[in-house]
Protein backbone atom coordinates (compact mmCIF):
# COMPACT_ATOMS: atom_id res chain seq x y z
CA UNK A 1 0.00 0.00 0.00
CA UNK A 2 2.48 2.65 -1.17
CA UNK A 3 -0.33 5.12 -1.64
CA UNK A 4 -1.36 4.68 1.98
CA UNK A 5 2.18 5.11 3.29
CA UNK A 6 2.68 8.21 1.16
CA UNK A 7 -0.54 9.82 2.33
CA UNK A 8 0.14 8.93 5.98
CA UNK A 9 3.57 10.56 5.75
CA UNK A 10 2.12 13.69 4.17
CA UNK A 11 -0.50 13.99 6.89
CA UNK A 12 2.02 13.52 9.68
CA UNK A 13 4.58 15.88 8.14
CA UNK A 14 1.99 18.60 7.62
CA UNK A 15 0.74 18.09 11.15
CA UNK A 16 -2.84 17.67 9.91
CA UNK A 17 -3.07 14.60 12.10
CA UNK A 18 -1.05 13.65 15.14
CA UNK A 19 -1.36 9.90 14.78
CA UNK A 20 -2.13 7.46 11.98
CA UNK A 21 -3.68 4.19 13.04
CA UNK A 22 -3.01 1.24 10.77
CA UNK A 23 -1.70 -2.31 10.62
CA UNK A 24 1.90 -3.49 10.85
CA UNK A 25 3.58 -6.89 10.92
CA UNK A 26 3.41 -8.54 14.31
CA UNK A 27 4.88 -11.74 15.60
CA UNK A 28 4.04 -15.22 14.30
CA UNK A 29 2.82 -14.02 10.90
CA UNK A 30 0.08 -11.96 12.51
CA UNK A 31 -0.66 -8.30 12.14
CA UNK A 32 -1.04 -5.79 14.90
CA UNK A 33 -2.09 -2.20 15.27
CA UNK A 34 0.41 0.50 14.40
CA UNK A 35 0.20 4.00 15.79
CA UNK A 36 2.40 6.13 13.58
CA UNK A 37 3.37 9.38 15.27
CA UNK A 38 6.56 10.25 13.37
CA UNK A 39 6.47 10.33 9.54
CA UNK A 40 9.10 7.55 9.42
CA UNK A 41 6.79 5.24 11.42
CA UNK A 42 4.45 5.23 8.45
CA UNK A 43 6.91 3.03 6.50
CA UNK A 44 5.78 0.10 8.59
CA UNK A 45 2.18 0.38 7.39
CA UNK A 46 0.84 -2.68 5.62
CA UNK A 47 -2.48 -3.90 4.38
CA UNK A 48 -3.36 -7.43 3.33
CA UNK A 49 -5.88 -10.18 3.99
CA UNK A 50 -4.47 -10.85 7.47
CA UNK A 51 -5.63 -7.44 8.65
CA UNK A 52 -8.91 -8.47 10.22
CA UNK A 53 -8.69 -6.68 13.54
CA UNK A 54 -11.13 -3.82 13.91
CA UNK A 55 -9.00 -0.71 14.39
CA UNK A 56 -12.00 1.42 15.32
CA UNK A 57 -11.65 -0.01 18.80
CA UNK A 58 -8.69 2.33 19.38
CA UNK A 59 -10.31 5.61 18.44
CA UNK A 60 -12.29 5.74 21.68
CA UNK A 61 -9.22 5.09 23.84
CA UNK A 62 -7.98 8.08 25.80
CA UNK A 63 -4.30 7.24 25.08
CA UNK A 64 -4.90 7.52 21.34
CA UNK A 65 -7.57 10.19 21.34
CA UNK A 66 -5.46 12.36 23.64
CA UNK A 67 -2.71 12.70 21.04
CA UNK A 68 -4.86 14.96 18.90
CA UNK A 69 -6.48 14.42 15.54
CA UNK A 70 -6.33 10.81 14.38
CA UNK A 71 -6.26 9.28 10.93
CA UNK A 72 -7.33 5.67 10.58
CA UNK A 73 -6.98 3.10 7.82
CA UNK A 74 -10.46 1.72 7.64
CA UNK A 75 -11.85 -1.29 5.90
CA UNK A 76 -15.60 -1.55 5.46
CA UNK A 77 -16.33 -3.05 8.92
CA UNK A 78 -14.09 -0.41 10.50
CA UNK A 79 -15.97 2.33 8.67
CA UNK A 80 -19.27 0.90 9.88
CA UNK A 81 -17.95 0.91 13.42
CA UNK A 82 -16.80 4.51 13.01
CA UNK A 83 -20.26 5.57 11.89
CA UNK A 84 -21.88 3.76 14.80
CA UNK A 85 -19.41 5.42 17.19
CA UNK A 86 -20.15 8.80 15.62
CA UNK A 87 -23.86 8.25 16.21
CA UNK A 88 -23.02 7.58 19.84
CA UNK A 89 -21.03 10.85 20.00
CA UNK A 90 -17.68 9.09 20.47
CA UNK A 91 -15.94 10.54 17.42
CA UNK A 92 -16.57 13.44 15.08
CA UNK A 93 -15.09 15.22 12.09
CA UNK A 94 -12.82 17.37 14.21
CA UNK A 95 -10.87 14.44 15.66
CA UNK A 96 -10.96 11.78 12.98
CA UNK A 97 -9.87 11.49 9.38
CA UNK A 98 -10.78 8.30 7.57
CA UNK A 99 -8.45 6.73 5.02
CA UNK A 100 -10.84 4.16 3.62
CA UNK A 101 -9.87 0.91 1.98
CA UNK A 102 -12.62 -0.35 -0.30
CA UNK A 103 -13.46 -4.05 -0.54
CA UNK A 104 -11.48 -3.91 -3.82
CA UNK A 105 -8.41 -2.78 -1.80
CA UNK A 106 -8.39 0.75 -3.21
CA UNK A 107 -7.63 3.69 -0.98
CA UNK A 108 -10.07 6.57 -0.72
CA UNK A 109 -9.69 9.52 1.54
CA UNK A 110 -12.96 10.81 2.92
CA UNK A 111 -13.57 14.50 3.43
CA UNK A 112 -15.83 13.95 6.41
CA UNK A 113 -17.82 11.30 8.23
CA UNK A 114 -20.96 12.04 6.19
CA UNK A 115 -19.04 10.82 3.13
CA UNK A 116 -18.01 7.70 5.01
CA UNK A 117 -21.63 7.08 5.88
CA UNK A 118 -22.69 7.45 2.24
CA UNK A 119 -20.01 4.94 1.28
CA UNK A 120 -20.97 2.48 4.02
CA UNK A 121 -24.62 2.61 2.97
CA UNK A 122 -23.71 1.30 -0.48
CA UNK A 123 -23.15 -2.09 1.12
CA UNK A 124 -25.75 -3.91 3.20
CA UNK A 125 -24.71 -5.98 6.19
CA UNK A 126 -25.11 -9.60 5.14
CA UNK A 127 -24.67 -12.65 7.33
CA UNK A 128 -22.14 -14.97 5.69
CA UNK A 129 -23.55 -18.27 4.41
CA UNK A 130 -21.46 -20.40 6.77
CA UNK A 131 -22.89 -18.53 9.71
CA UNK A 132 -26.49 -18.57 8.54
CA UNK A 133 -26.18 -22.35 8.16
CA UNK A 134 -24.99 -22.65 11.74
CA UNK A 135 -27.75 -20.38 12.97
CA UNK A 136 -30.34 -22.39 11.08
CA UNK A 137 -29.02 -25.59 12.61
CA UNK A 138 -29.31 -24.09 16.07
CA UNK A 139 -32.82 -22.82 15.39
CA UNK A 140 -33.91 -26.34 14.52
CA UNK A 141 -32.73 -27.71 17.87
CA UNK A 142 -35.01 -27.93 20.89
CA UNK A 143 -34.41 -25.30 23.61
CA UNK A 144 -32.75 -27.83 25.89
CA UNK A 145 -30.42 -28.98 23.09
CA UNK A 146 -29.49 -25.35 22.50
CA UNK A 147 -28.97 -24.92 26.24
CA UNK A 148 -26.52 -27.83 26.35
CA UNK A 149 -24.85 -26.57 23.18
CA UNK A 150 -24.18 -23.15 24.69
CA UNK A 151 -23.18 -24.39 28.13
CA UNK A 152 -20.73 -26.71 26.38
CA UNK A 153 -19.42 -24.06 23.97
CA UNK A 154 -19.01 -21.43 26.67
CA UNK A 155 -17.43 -23.76 29.21
CA UNK A 156 -13.79 -23.24 28.06
CA UNK A 157 -14.18 -19.43 28.38
CA UNK A 158 -11.89 -18.13 31.10
CA UNK A 159 -13.09 -14.55 30.85
CA UNK A 160 -10.00 -12.94 29.42
CA UNK A 161 -12.38 -10.33 27.95
CA UNK A 162 -10.43 -10.28 24.69
CA UNK A 163 -13.84 -10.14 22.98
CA UNK A 164 -14.59 -6.98 24.89
CA UNK A 165 -11.18 -5.46 24.19
CA UNK A 166 -11.46 -6.20 20.48
CA UNK A 167 -14.97 -4.85 20.11
CA UNK A 168 -15.17 -1.25 18.90
CA UNK A 169 -18.58 -0.89 20.56
CA UNK A 170 -17.34 -1.89 24.02
CA UNK A 171 -15.89 1.42 25.09
CA UNK A 172 -17.48 1.95 28.52
CA UNK A 173 -14.92 3.12 31.07
CA UNK A 174 -16.54 0.87 33.60
CA UNK A 175 -18.09 -2.27 32.23
CA UNK A 176 -20.95 -4.09 33.97
CA UNK A 177 -18.57 -6.94 34.82
CA UNK A 178 -16.47 -4.55 36.87
CA UNK A 179 -19.37 -3.55 39.08
CA UNK A 180 -19.47 -5.39 42.36
CA UNK A 181 -22.12 -3.43 44.19
CA UNK A 182 -24.25 -5.23 43.20
CA UNK A 183 -22.25 -8.01 41.59
CA UNK A 184 -24.19 -8.33 38.34
CA UNK A 185 -22.02 -10.95 36.69
CA UNK A 186 -20.37 -13.64 38.83
CA UNK A 187 -16.60 -13.17 38.63
CA UNK A 188 -15.49 -16.81 38.33
CA UNK A 189 -15.60 -18.34 34.88
CA UNK A 190 -17.93 -21.14 35.84
CA UNK A 191 -20.94 -22.01 33.70
CA UNK A 192 -23.18 -19.36 35.22
CA UNK A 193 -20.55 -16.62 35.11
CA UNK A 194 -19.76 -17.38 31.49
CA UNK A 195 -23.39 -17.61 30.48
CA UNK A 196 -24.28 -14.29 32.07
CA UNK A 197 -21.24 -12.51 30.67
CA UNK A 198 -21.98 -13.64 27.13
CA UNK A 199 -25.68 -12.87 27.43
CA UNK A 200 -24.89 -9.43 28.72
CA UNK A 201 -22.40 -8.81 25.94
CA UNK A 202 -24.89 -9.87 23.29
CA UNK A 203 -27.74 -7.77 24.65
CA UNK A 204 -25.56 -4.69 25.04
CA UNK A 205 -24.57 -5.05 21.40
CA UNK A 206 -28.11 -5.58 20.16
CA UNK A 207 -28.83 -2.97 17.53
CA UNK A 208 -25.23 -1.71 17.69
CA UNK A 209 -23.10 -4.62 16.53
CA UNK A 210 -21.87 -4.05 13.00
CA UNK A 211 -20.95 -7.69 12.43
CA UNK A 212 -17.18 -7.32 12.04
CA UNK A 213 -16.41 -10.62 13.85
CA UNK A 214 -13.57 -8.93 15.75
CA UNK A 215 -14.75 -10.64 18.96
CA UNK A 216 -14.59 -14.05 17.37
CA UNK A 217 -11.19 -13.39 15.82
CA UNK A 218 -9.85 -12.19 19.16
CA UNK A 219 -11.11 -15.16 21.17
CA UNK A 220 -8.12 -17.36 22.01
CA UNK A 221 -10.41 -20.37 22.33
CA UNK A 222 -12.45 -19.87 19.20
CA UNK A 223 -15.77 -19.75 21.02
CA UNK A 224 -18.45 -18.94 18.42
CA UNK A 225 -19.62 -15.93 20.40
CA UNK A 226 -20.30 -13.98 17.25
CA UNK A 227 -23.29 -16.26 16.67
CA UNK A 228 -25.00 -14.48 19.56
CA UNK A 229 -24.49 -11.04 18.09
CA UNK A 230 -25.46 -12.29 14.63
CA UNK A 231 -28.71 -13.61 16.06
CA UNK A 232 -29.38 -10.16 17.54
CA UNK A 233 -28.63 -8.58 14.17
CA UNK A 234 -31.09 -10.86 12.38
CA UNK A 235 -33.76 -10.21 15.00
CA UNK A 236 -33.28 -6.48 14.75
CA UNK A 237 -33.82 -6.80 11.01
CA UNK A 238 -36.88 -8.98 11.45
CA UNK A 239 -38.60 -6.90 14.11
CA UNK A 240 -37.45 -3.36 13.53
CA UNK A 241 -36.85 -3.35 9.80
CA UNK A 242 -33.17 -3.55 9.14
CA UNK A 243 -30.11 -1.97 10.55
CA UNK A 244 -27.44 0.19 9.05
CA UNK A 245 -25.31 2.47 11.22
CA UNK A 246 -26.15 6.10 10.69
CA UNK A 247 -24.73 9.25 12.30
CA UNK A 248 -28.03 11.04 12.76
CA UNK A 249 -30.21 8.07 13.72
CA UNK A 250 -30.74 6.70 17.21
CA UNK A 251 -29.70 3.12 17.53
CA UNK A 252 -32.45 0.55 17.63
CA UNK A 253 -32.60 -0.05 21.34
CA UNK A 254 -32.70 3.60 22.35
CA UNK A 255 -35.71 4.38 20.24
CA UNK A 256 -39.10 2.80 19.60
CA UNK A 257 -42.15 2.86 17.37
CA UNK A 258 -45.60 2.93 18.97
CA UNK A 259 -46.61 0.14 16.60
CA UNK A 260 -43.70 -2.23 17.21
CA UNK A 261 -45.10 -5.73 16.71
CA UNK A 262 -44.85 -8.52 19.21
CA UNK A 263 -46.65 -11.82 19.44
CA UNK A 264 -46.03 -12.82 23.02
CA UNK A 265 -47.27 -10.07 25.34
CA UNK A 266 -50.51 -11.12 26.98
Amino acid sequence: MDELIKRAKELLEAGTVKVVIGYENGSADKTRALFAIEPKDADKLIFDSRCVMNLATYITKAEVKGKGKMAITATLPVMRAIIQLASEFQVNDSNLLVLGITPESKMIEFKDLAEVEAFVHKYTIEIEAKYSEKLEKLDKMTPSERWSFWIEELSPCFKCYACRAACPMCYCHKCTVEFNQPQWIPVPSHDLGNLEWHMMRAIHLAGRCIDCDACYNACPLGIPLNLLTKRMLIDAKEHFGGYQPSIKADHLMSTYKPDDKDNFIM
Binding site: P143, S144, A206, L228, D235, Y256, K257, M266
Partner: protein, 149 residues
Amino acid sequence: MAEFEPKIVAFVCNWCTYAGADLTGTSRIKYASNVRIVRFPCTGRIDYMLLVKAFDEGADGIIVSGCHPNDCHYTSGNFHARRRWIMFRSLCDFIGIDIRRIKFSWVSAAEGAKWADIVNSTVAAIRELGPYEEYQKVAKKPVKEVING
Protein backbone atom coordinates in the same frame (compact mmCIF):
# COMPACT_ATOMS: atom_id res chain seq x y z
CA MET B 1 -41.80 -34.09 49.44
CA ALA B 2 -45.00 -32.12 49.08
CA GLU B 3 -46.43 -31.26 45.68
CA PHE B 4 -44.24 -28.92 43.66
CA GLU B 5 -45.12 -25.31 44.31
CA PRO B 6 -43.61 -23.05 41.66
CA LYS B 7 -41.78 -19.92 42.73
CA ILE B 8 -42.80 -17.07 40.51
CA VAL B 9 -41.25 -13.61 40.56
CA ALA B 10 -43.34 -10.81 39.09
CA PHE B 11 -41.65 -7.61 37.96
CA VAL B 12 -44.36 -5.00 37.69
CA CYS B 13 -44.64 -1.28 37.18
CA ASN B 14 -45.91 0.93 39.95
CA TRP B 15 -48.58 2.74 37.97
CA CYS B 16 -50.56 0.04 36.24
CA THR B 17 -49.88 -3.56 37.12
CA TYR B 18 -49.05 -2.94 40.77
CA ALA B 19 -52.25 -0.95 41.12
CA GLY B 20 -54.03 -3.67 39.14
CA ALA B 21 -52.74 -6.31 41.55
CA ASP B 22 -53.95 -4.11 44.38
CA LEU B 23 -57.38 -4.05 42.77
CA THR B 24 -57.35 -7.85 42.58
CA GLY B 25 -56.97 -7.84 46.34
CA THR B 26 -59.54 -5.15 47.10
CA SER B 27 -61.98 -6.92 44.78
CA ARG B 28 -61.43 -10.07 46.85
CA ILE B 29 -60.46 -12.14 43.82
CA LYS B 30 -58.52 -15.19 44.93
CA TYR B 31 -55.36 -16.09 43.07
CA ALA B 32 -52.36 -18.33 43.49
CA SER B 33 -50.02 -17.28 46.27
CA ASN B 34 -46.89 -18.47 44.43
CA VAL B 35 -46.07 -15.05 43.11
CA ARG B 36 -43.64 -12.59 44.69
CA ILE B 37 -44.25 -9.13 43.35
CA VAL B 38 -41.38 -6.72 42.87
CA ARG B 39 -42.49 -3.15 42.26
CA PHE B 40 -40.65 -0.89 39.82
CA PRO B 41 -41.28 2.71 38.86
CA CYS B 42 -41.77 1.69 35.25
CA THR B 43 -41.29 -1.30 32.95
CA GLY B 44 -38.55 0.75 31.33
CA ARG B 45 -36.60 0.33 34.58
CA ILE B 46 -36.77 -3.46 34.52
CA ASP B 47 -33.26 -4.45 33.53
CA TYR B 48 -33.07 -7.78 31.72
CA MET B 49 -30.31 -8.76 34.16
CA LEU B 50 -32.86 -8.74 36.96
CA LEU B 51 -34.80 -11.43 35.13
CA VAL B 52 -31.65 -13.49 34.77
CA LYS B 53 -30.91 -12.96 38.46
CA ALA B 54 -34.38 -14.21 39.38
CA PHE B 55 -33.60 -17.50 37.66
CA ASP B 56 -30.21 -17.58 39.40
CA GLU B 57 -31.91 -17.28 42.74
CA GLY B 58 -34.15 -20.21 42.02
CA ALA B 59 -37.28 -18.77 40.41
CA ASP B 60 -39.19 -21.29 38.30
CA GLY B 61 -41.07 -18.66 36.38
CA ILE B 62 -41.14 -14.93 35.80
CA ILE B 63 -43.92 -12.48 35.03
CA VAL B 64 -43.09 -9.06 33.64
CA SER B 65 -45.98 -6.68 33.44
CA GLY B 66 -46.69 -3.00 32.97
CA CYS B 67 -48.98 -0.42 31.45
CA HIS B 68 -50.64 -0.99 28.12
CA PRO B 69 -48.97 0.79 25.18
CA ASN B 70 -49.83 4.50 25.20
CA ASP B 71 -50.71 4.37 28.92
CA CYS B 72 -47.21 4.72 30.34
CA HIS B 73 -46.99 7.16 33.23
CA TYR B 74 -43.71 8.36 31.74
CA THR B 75 -45.10 8.39 28.18
CA SER B 76 -42.72 5.95 26.57
CA GLY B 77 -41.14 3.64 29.17
CA ASN B 78 -43.19 0.66 28.11
CA PHE B 79 -42.42 1.21 24.42
CA HIS B 80 -38.72 1.06 25.20
CA ALA B 81 -39.33 -1.97 27.40
CA ARG B 82 -41.20 -3.73 24.61
CA ARG B 83 -38.25 -3.41 22.22
CA ARG B 84 -35.98 -4.76 24.90
CA TRP B 85 -38.30 -7.66 25.64
CA ILE B 86 -38.47 -8.61 21.99
CA MET B 87 -34.67 -8.80 21.77
CA PHE B 88 -34.19 -10.32 25.21
CA ARG B 89 -36.80 -13.02 24.67
CA SER B 90 -35.21 -13.94 21.38
CA LEU B 91 -31.74 -14.10 22.95
CA CYS B 92 -33.06 -16.30 25.75
CA ASP B 93 -34.65 -18.60 23.20
CA PHE B 94 -31.41 -18.74 21.22
CA ILE B 95 -29.37 -19.58 24.31
CA GLY B 96 -31.88 -22.22 25.28
CA ILE B 97 -33.54 -20.63 28.28
CA ASP B 98 -37.10 -21.95 28.42
CA ILE B 99 -39.09 -18.93 27.30
CA ARG B 100 -42.34 -20.58 28.37
CA ARG B 101 -41.21 -19.63 31.85
CA ILE B 102 -41.13 -15.90 31.16
CA LYS B 103 -44.51 -14.27 30.67
CA PHE B 104 -44.90 -10.72 29.51
CA SER B 105 -48.18 -8.88 29.88
CA TRP B 106 -49.91 -5.53 29.96
CA VAL B 107 -52.18 -5.17 32.97
CA SER B 108 -53.81 -1.81 33.67
CA ALA B 109 -54.85 -0.49 37.06
CA ALA B 110 -58.44 -1.45 36.21
CA GLU B 111 -57.66 -5.04 35.25
CA GLY B 112 -57.65 -6.77 38.61
CA ALA B 113 -59.31 -9.82 37.14
CA LYS B 114 -56.77 -10.03 34.32
CA TRP B 115 -53.94 -10.01 36.85
CA ALA B 116 -55.50 -12.93 38.71
CA ASP B 117 -55.89 -14.78 35.39
CA ILE B 118 -52.29 -14.17 34.40
CA VAL B 119 -50.91 -15.33 37.73
CA ASN B 120 -53.16 -18.39 37.80
CA SER B 121 -52.39 -19.41 34.24
CA THR B 122 -48.65 -18.88 34.75
CA VAL B 123 -48.64 -20.90 37.94
CA ALA B 124 -50.57 -23.70 36.21
CA ALA B 125 -48.18 -23.67 33.25
CA ILE B 126 -45.07 -23.70 35.46
CA ARG B 127 -46.55 -26.41 37.65
CA GLU B 128 -46.82 -28.52 34.52
CA LEU B 129 -43.24 -27.71 33.44
CA GLY B 130 -41.88 -28.54 36.88
CA PRO B 131 -38.97 -26.92 38.68
CA TYR B 132 -36.40 -25.21 36.44
CA GLU B 133 -33.74 -27.77 37.20
CA GLU B 134 -31.81 -27.18 34.00
CA TYR B 135 -30.98 -23.63 35.04
CA GLN B 136 -30.57 -24.37 38.72
CA LYS B 137 -28.01 -27.05 37.88
CA VAL B 138 -25.91 -24.39 36.18
CA ALA B 139 -26.58 -21.79 38.89
CA LYS B 140 -25.48 -24.42 41.42
CA LYS B 141 -27.48 -22.88 44.21
CA PRO B 142 -28.91 -25.32 46.71
CA VAL B 143 -32.59 -25.68 45.89
CA LYS B 144 -34.45 -25.11 49.09
CA GLU B 145 -37.70 -26.84 49.67
CA VAL B 146 -40.53 -24.44 49.08
CA ILE B 147 -42.98 -24.27 51.90
CA ASN B 148 -46.45 -23.53 50.63
CA GLY B 149 -45.36 -21.39 47.69
